[in-house]
């Protein structure tokens, strides 16, 4: 499985994401600067966490307009896998690849800690290594992770099984405790928790590792 990590000005989990991808897939991802207009030939594109453009104006808003995002959009339409974590999730909603928006945490404070997540759907490549209903622990670290969409959208994505991770407790005020969603075809995942921070025991847990392993498996199976 070949992967790429997009680097925006102010991304700060890009290197962490690269380490996780290298650990699990056995090959280093291509690091792609946001000014590029073409993507290398890869299977998985990761949008990392951080504070791209300082989170100024709105989180993810300025990055969503980066030249590379047009290429990411096309790749997503062609069915390539796109994983947006934290700021990457915010960029995906701002780009329109995923519905809804991420607002300031209800408690207004930045929150960094391990949180319990329920895996709601294991029919995606990202979640195939988990069991439905399983509770996993993955760290969050964000100021704007409060997921918002209007009622109709929420009902629709719930009905289509597109809510794949849900907080097992209230973390940031997100509607219906949504922590991660996929697009209609299931090849684009946005999530606030950081799976790349939970890939080896020294980090305090390994529950994030299976997300990457699931992706690798999808290519073995294919």
């Amino acid at each position: 499985m070949k992967s790429a990590v997009i680097v925006f000005p102010g991304s700060n989990c890009d290197r962490d994401m690269a380490v996780a991808l290298r650990e699990v897939t056995g090959r280093a991802p291509a690091m792609v600067w946001h000014r590029e207009t073409v993507l290398p030939d890869v299977d998985v594109i990761a949008l990392p966490g951080g504070f791209s453009y300082g989170d100024y104006l709105r989180t993810g808003a300025i990055s969503a307009q980066s030249p590379i995002m047009a290429a990411v959009k096309r790749a997503a339409e062609q069915g390539r896998f796109v994983l947006g974590v934290c700021n990457g999730f915010q960029v995906l909603t701002e780009t329109g690849l995923l519905p809804g928006a991420l607002m300031r945490n209800a408690g207004l404070d930045f929150v960094c800690r391990d949180v319990p997540l329920t895996v709601e759907n294991t029919q995606t490549a990202f979640t195939s290594a988990y069991k439905v209903g399983e509770t996993i622990r993955i760290p969050v670290a964000h100021h704007d992770g409060n997921y918002f969409a209007d009622g109709a959208t929420l009902d629709r994505i719930e009905g289509e099984g597109r809510v794949v991770f849900r907080y097992a407790e209230d973390v940031n005020g997100a509607q219906r405790r949504i922590a991660g969603i996929v697009n209609e075809s299931g090849n684009v995942l946005g999530m606030m928790p950081h799976p790349e921070r939970a890939i080896e025991a020294a980090q305090g847990g390994t529950d994030g590792r299976r997300l990457f392993e699931g992706l690798v498996q999808a290519f073995v199976d294919a």
């Binding site: 307009q65 945490n105 207004l108 409060n146 005020g173």
Partner: protein
């Protein structure tokens, strides 16, 4: 020329910041505060002759997220 853009949350979108401000006002003894909504106020310094349509485009493309926000433009 100058233009002002006001970006506000749509009705029905929860405003955690506004709520927190309202709460803080109450705890400071400002019982008159009943509800607070916080938006953005963006002042643009533009090349003379920039059309309103063009500013609209800036709003739609960048300054506001129309999933959750409304905007209003005022040309000074």
């Amino acid at each position: 020329m100058k233009a002002k853009v006001y970006v506000t949350l749509k009705n029905g979108v929860l405003d955690p910041q506004g709520k927190a401000i309202c709460h803080a006002l109450e705890s400071l003894g400002f019982d008159e505060a009943q509800d607070v909504r916080q938006g953005k106020f963006i002042e643009l310094e533009l090349a003379d002759g920039t059309s309103e349509a063009r500013i609209e485009e800036m709003c739609r493309k960048l300054l506001a997220n129309t999933v959750i926000e409304n905007y209003r433009i005022e040309i000074a």
